[in-house]
């Protein structure tokens, strides 16, 4: 029997555990499989690490092999490897080494330019990456040897995911096209039409597939982004499109609020059947949303976290990490700190926990 939204709200309303200050800004933060380590990729090219086994999170020495931005990172399921990628096209594999990661191998030119996303397959043998060079590539996890190159996208490829069980890969581009590929033969299996998330506005290609998620059963594909209204200062309705994985049929379009909220940046399809999503738009606007697909409204939402760029769930403990941006992050012209310095922004990382887990 499907659980009622109010029951889900009671069980899954998150409680805040701690806020980690990440300065300068970071993108996505991920728990390692034990939940004792948090890694986040930064605007400054560093991979930041926090020890969560201590009473309060303790920052560990950062990993410094990258250039540009580190936007994509993922742990293998066994927790032995951390993979990180940067906007200059470099892919790195780090041996976890008991909380003191060491570089196992790296590829300086895994992609030509911005490497936007990566994923590790279920058994940890393969890595898939995608980037601004319009290509999807598959690598051997053990040593970074190239295995397959998937060509067919005609524009930037923003997001990529392995199927949790089958040898399949989904990749989504900036025109709202999601392609499903065979992970071993590179054959195109089918396409999903998420072009609702794309707009050509004036000279700009706006929107696209900003994030992908596949549920654990492998039956549902979620595509996140915005239904764009305009380019430049992008505005649009933050949205999640749910597809039947087998038929590519669009089954649900979930719209999450006003156009100032803009992008759904990351999605988790929870085993209990609800969608977890975070949004970020106009500075100061951000939402955390939990919603059952067949319901009209979320059973949980908050706008207290500003500009949410990523969400990660540590299943066994029900812990959640959400990367946000500080208050007052925008403004035209010269604005200096009291000491006369020109300051950047930072990324409070909110550590939360599901209510039922927190109370147990």
């Amino acid at each position: 029997m499907t659980e009622q939204p109010q029951d889900l709200a009671t069980r899954f309303e998150p409680k805040e555990l701690a806020v980690i200050g990440a300065d300068p800004q970071v993108f996505a933060a991920k728990f390692n499989p034990s939940g004792k380590l948090l890694a986040a990729g930064g605007f400054d090219g560093r991979v930041r690490l926090w020890d969560l086994a201590t009473e309060a999170p303790q920052e560990l020495p950062a990993l410094t092999a990258h250039d540009g931005w580190v936007q994509a990172l993922a742990f293998s399921r066994d927790g032995q490897r951390l993979y990180t990628a940067d906007s200059w096209g470099k892919l790195c594999a780090w041996d976890a080494n008991d909380g003191k990661p060491e570089l196992a191998w790296s590829l300086n030119e895994a992609h030509d330019g911005w490497l936007r996303d990566l994923d590790v397959n279920a058994d940890g043998t393969r890595i898939v990456t995608c980037g601004r060079d319009q290509v999807v590539r598959i690598w051997a996890a053990v040593d970074g040897a190239p295995l397959l190159e998937l060509q067919g996208h005609k524009t930037d490829v923003y997001s990529v995911r392995f199927h949790p069980e089958k040898q399949l890969i989904a990749s989504g581009d900036d025109r709202g096209i999601v392609k499903l590929w065979g992970a071993t033969d590179g054959q195109l299996v089918r396409e999903f039409d998420a072009s609702l998330l794309y707009l050509e506005h004036r000279l700009q290609d706006v929107g696209g597939v900003r994030t992908l998620a596949i549920d654990r059963a492998g039956k549902r594909l979620a595509v996140g982004g915005t239904i764009p209204k305009n380019g430049a200062t992008v505005q649009g309705t933050p949205s999640v499109l749910l597809f039947n994985f087998e038929t590519a049929e669009l089954t649900h379009t979930l719209n999450f609020g006003a156009s100032t909220h803009c992008f759904v940046h990351e999605i988790i399809l929870h085993d209990e059947g609800f969608v977890m999503a975070v949004t970020s738009g106009t500075p100061g606007q951000g939402q955390v949303i939990f919603q059952l697909p067949d319901e009209e409204t979320p059973f949980y939402t908050t706008t207290k976290l500003l500009n949410c760029h990523s969400i990660n769930l540590h299943g066994p403990t029900g812990r959640i990490a959400i990367v946000t941006t500080n208050r007052g992050s925008n403004g035209n012209g010269r604005r200096l700190a009291e000491n006369g310095e020109y300051e950047g922004n930072n990324s409070p990382i909110h550590l939360l926990q599901f209510a039922e887990a927190a109370s147990s």
């Binding site: 605007f43 540009g68 992008v234 992050s329 035209n332 922004n345």
Partner: protein, 428 residues
Amino acid sequence: MNTSLCKPWEHQLSRRQLLGTTTGAAVAAVGLGPLLQPVIAEELKKKQKQVLFVWLDGGMSQLESWDPKPNTQFGGPFRAIPTSVPGIHISELLPKSARQMHHLAVIRSLCTQDNSHSAGVARIQRGDPKDRGVTYPYFGSAVAKLLGPGESKLPPYVWIKPGSGGFKHTDAGFLGPKFGALAFGDGQPPENLLLHKSITEQADDERDQLRRAANRRYAAKRRKQVTEANSYVFEMARTLMKRQDLFDTTKLDPSDVERYGTHEIGRHMLQARKMLEAGVTFVKVNSYGWDTHGDNFNGHASLVPKFDQAFAAIVEDLAERGMMENVLVIAMSEFGRTPRINGHIGRDHWPEAWSLAMGGCGVREGITVGKTNEKGTFVATDEHDIGHIFHTWFRALGIDSTDIEYDNGGQPLPIAHDDMHVIEELLA
């Protein structure tokens, strides 16, 4: 390429030829009337200087274009790439312009006054002179006034823009409406430009004589400035009626179309080349949608390469045709964008330290002028305001901005900010 078009340098009339041509004298009278130094202006006219002014409305990020700061706190995700000039690097989003860098100069020391669009667009394009209680002309109107239409007799200030067209008289400020911009919406000619098939050339001439007679009677009872503008615009329309080839896209070389890009700015830039080849004095190409407070990096990843394609193509073509000697090429916005990256992964308005690119007309090639500090937050060398740039542009066009003045109904007005000066290192 359509090789049948006349080129400006094929029309280098002698002074005697020019003054001996009734129409030429009439055009000169219309275009240069209130200058304090008409003889100097006449000399300028002979040189056939022209301007290509590419306006990226909303504010292109200097960090994602001409002044990258890779691997710094505010540097963003993109790499810097080498250019055709050793030692000069620009953003990886400008690969084609990088190959034309030896024709260009980049100014990285702009520090201007306004961080709002409403004030910034006008202040920048008017040169932000001292406030004397008058509305100064946009650069296009100023050039139309100071250089006139040249031998082509085509409208001296045309504006190729997205959206609608029409005659934009407000650009002209105190110069009066006739120095406004003739805007071609989406590059299209004004409506009903074609002579109706039922009207013969002879009938059209007779109608025109009748119109002129009626105009004279109408003008006798009205303010000169208004009637003069009406007549001026009508004459421009008649000139354009004979130059429908300027709008005929069917004869474009397909390889040019591909090279410039089939997107809006590519099409418009290719048309700008035709306009310059035909002798139009000032051609403005406008692109909207650069105000990337949100999703700046994906926005610039989409926008800048299209600008790059079109801009590099026209610079290459102008250089190949020898036109860079006489065409001042400028690409700019009303300001740059903040180094600080906001919560919408955007950059806000930043007039404190930004860049523009220019070339041609005696501008030194393959140089950068000024620099910003390591993080790109502020100018580390001498700051340059738009007034300095206006003085420099005028000098490049052969106009001495310290000597020539406007005559606004007896009020002498400097053509550029009194307290600013030419950036000497920009000029050969």
